[in-house]
């Protein structure tokens, strides 16, 4: 089973010593050696990101940082684990768990069109990628499946255009968070009272620059009933 570990920071508050990229790199290396890494990458800061909503036909693009949010996603790992329990054990070993939050979300239907969203080095030059974090409004639903069908049509369009790298829903019922309390990792189950914005899914797309990425996100049907945060993926490995 595949899980996404969201690396989450609480704004303003920081517990424990800060974690270095080197430590996170070593953690990623261990996971890679165990054959558990399936993808994931750090993201460029929120300050250079954007949020998109489309309401009544109007596109609203807000530049980061996003004052109204109390948490920020700094990156992700995609990890293979036998089940939720094992995934949580692996998440506890993430260095970030002592300084912030590691959120564990099952990926029920990860669709990968191009291998490319990964912390491991690949041999071809890495194209510029952007991650879309889809957030849902509480109480939003899809009774007749029409929203689902619109999203599928959007996926097909992106695949045809060549920008689609991968996407998945982030399962909500089984969400878990790992963070440190008194120097020990503590696990809590969702829903999480601190945030009203639930990350419902993600895309990774290829786009030459931020403006083009924003354009692709604007066309996503989800922008009409939720919000989409656009963040550039940090390039690591051979560039």
């Amino acid at each position: 089973m595949e899980f996404m570990f969201l690396i989450v920071d609480r704004k303003g508050a920081r517990t424990g010593e800060p974690v270095t990229m080197a430590e996170m790199g070593r953690y990623a290396g261990e996971l890679a050696q165990q054959g558990r890494i399936r993808g994931g990458a750090p993201l460029h800061p929120e300050a250079v990101g954007a949020r998109i909503e489309v309401r009544d036909g109007r596109t609203i693009v807000t530049d980061g940082p996003f004052a109204e949010s109390r948490e920020v996603i700094a990156g992700s790992f995609i990890v293979e684990a036998r089940d939720r329990a094992e995934a949580i054990e692996i998440a506890k070993r993430c260095p970030h768990a002592r300084a912030g939050i590691v959120e564990v979300r099952a990926l029920p239907d990860r669709d990968v069109a191009k291998p490319g969203f990964t912390t491991a080095a690949r041999f071809e030059k890495q194209p510029t990628q952007f991650m879309f974090l889809l957030r849902a409004e509480p109480g939003e639903s899809d009774p007749d499946g029409s929203k689902y069908r619109e999203m599928i049509a959007y996926d097909v369009t992106l695949k045809r255009e060549g920008s689609y790298v991968e996407s998945s829903q982030l399962a909500r019922d089984s969400a878990a968070r790992v963070e440190a309390a008194d120097g020990k990792p503590v696990v809590s189950d969702g829903p999480f009272a601190e945030t009203k914005e639930v990350a419902a899914g993600y895309y990774v797309v290829e786009a030459a620059d931020r403006a083009r990425a924003v354009g692709i996100a604007t066309r996503c049907p989800h922008a009409r009933w939720g919000s989409i945060e656009v963040r550039e993926v940090m390039k690591i490995g051979p560039t």
Partner: protein, 397 residues
């Protein structure tokens, strides 16, 4: 048959179970009551009724009634041709395009195609791709649900979409083939023969779409590669280079078939990438001995392929062909250009190629350096052993 019922009900999962039920009833009743005059129509009709019952019990009939309920409930059984056992070509074509619909994840397309078109069991598919059977079963269930929930139309795509969609289908078939081709040594006997299944799917495409020359190109390419499969590794799993393979053990009948298909595919106005790759494979197969290979022709084919599908890997292969046609120095100049462009820095074959050309020019120290670089990057064990042997050779000079 499954295809027809799927067409009526639009839901793979329900259709599959219903057809199984219908067959179970048939096996029980027909020996007693005699064969119905149109067995196929009987099965379809029975399956449909069983499916309707099942859906009703699950409370889902209402949900699909809007789209398909009226079809499922109608008493008109679609006109079926002669009840011989050949499947209706049209139905199978629709099934192929549905299985390989771009809305489905690539892995799901592969699993669905092998399950519904090749009739492999979930266990066989799981073993072939080295995943747990439960994982694969889930993948199939999710794919079928997605087809129903997304209302993916069960149809051959419209003419303006057909070329692109056919490309997607061929990509799935070729993926299956490459997965099977990569299986070497110890695990090969355990893994289901994916090459055979891919070739079967390739034949189906050529049979169902005879006017599409790229389908011929794909089948040709697979047949030509497959013909050499037995000679690619030693019994202990070491690599055997193309130039060292025992050509007497290549499957001549398959090569002849491959060459005929290649000719047909290349006769088309604009031969596509599969046809061109098949033509390259055909050049190798044509040569009775490695030294008879027409490398100049191969280099020209790579050049054309690079124009159609620009890629640094194609350029690298072209450099190898150039080296064989005009000598290592010519090839080395090309490889140096590719290195400067920087796109293949992490690709072990770039360094292995450079090392090989330097070795042939007697520049042993530089060759050793390049072999070392390749060894840092190489993935598979057989290739690692090969590179280490070469490094040992040049280091000793």
């Amino acid at each position: 048959m499954l295809a027809t019922v799927i067409g009526l009900l639009g839901d793979f999962q329900v259709a599959e179970e219903a057809v199984q039920d219908a067959f179970a009833v048939a096996l029980e009743r027909w020996p007693r009551e005699g064969w119905p005059s149109h067995p196929r129509a009987w099965i379809v009709s029975t399956a449909r009724h069983k499916a309707i019952d099942a859906l009703r019990r699950a409370g889902r009939l209402e949900a699909i009634r809007g789209e398909l309920g009226h079809m499922a409930e109608s008493s008109v059984v679609p006109e079926l041709p002669d009840p011989s056992d050949t499947a209706i070509p049209d139905e199978r074509l629709r099934l192929i395009f549905t299985c390989c619909h771009p809305a489905l994840a690539a892995e799901a397309q592969v699993a669905l195609a092998l399950r519904t078109l090749c009739g492999l069991t979930t266990d066989e598919i799981a073993r072939a791709f080295l995943v747990a059977p439960a994982t694969l079963a889930q993948r199939l269930v999710r794919a079928k649900r997605k087809i129903a929930a997304a209302r993916i139309p069960y149809e051959v795509p419209a003419p303006e979409l057909l070329p692109e969609r056919l490309e997607a289908v061929m990509a799935v078939v070729y993926l299956v083939f490459n997965e099977g081709y990569a299986a070497t040594g110890g695990d090969a006997w355990v893994r289901t023969d994916l090459c055979r299944e891919a070739i079967r799917l390739g034949r189906l495409l050529v049979e169902l779409m005879p006017e599409r020359s790229e389908a011929k190109g794909l089948l040709a390419l697979m047949l030509l590669h497959d013909a050499r499969r037995g000679t690619r590794t030693t019994p202990s799993g070491d690599l055997v280079l193309l130039e060292d393979q025992d050509r007497a053990r290549w499957d001549r009948a398959q090569i002849e078939e491959g060459r005929a298909l290649t000719a047909a595919a290349c006769a088309a106005p604009a031969p596509g990438p599969y046809a061109l790759q098949a033509a390259i494979a055909a050049e190798h197969a044509r040569a009775a001995r490695a030294t008879d290979t027409d490398w100049r022709a191969i280099e020209r084919l790579y050049a054309e392929l690079a124009r159609k599908r620009p890629s640094p890997v194609v350029e690298l292969n072209r450099a190898v062909a150039l080296a064989m046609a005009e000598g290592p120095a010519a090839g080395l100049a090309r490889v140096a250009e590719l290195r400067r462009a920087g796109q293949l820095d992490g690709y072990h074959l770039l360094w292995a190629t450079e090392a090989d050309l330097l070795r042939r020019l007697g520049r042993f120290d530089e060759a050793a350096q390049a072999y070392r670089r390749a060894l840092e990057l190489v993935g598979s064990e057989p290739e690692r052993r090969y590179l280490e042997r070469r490094l040992h050779e040049v280091a000793a000079r």
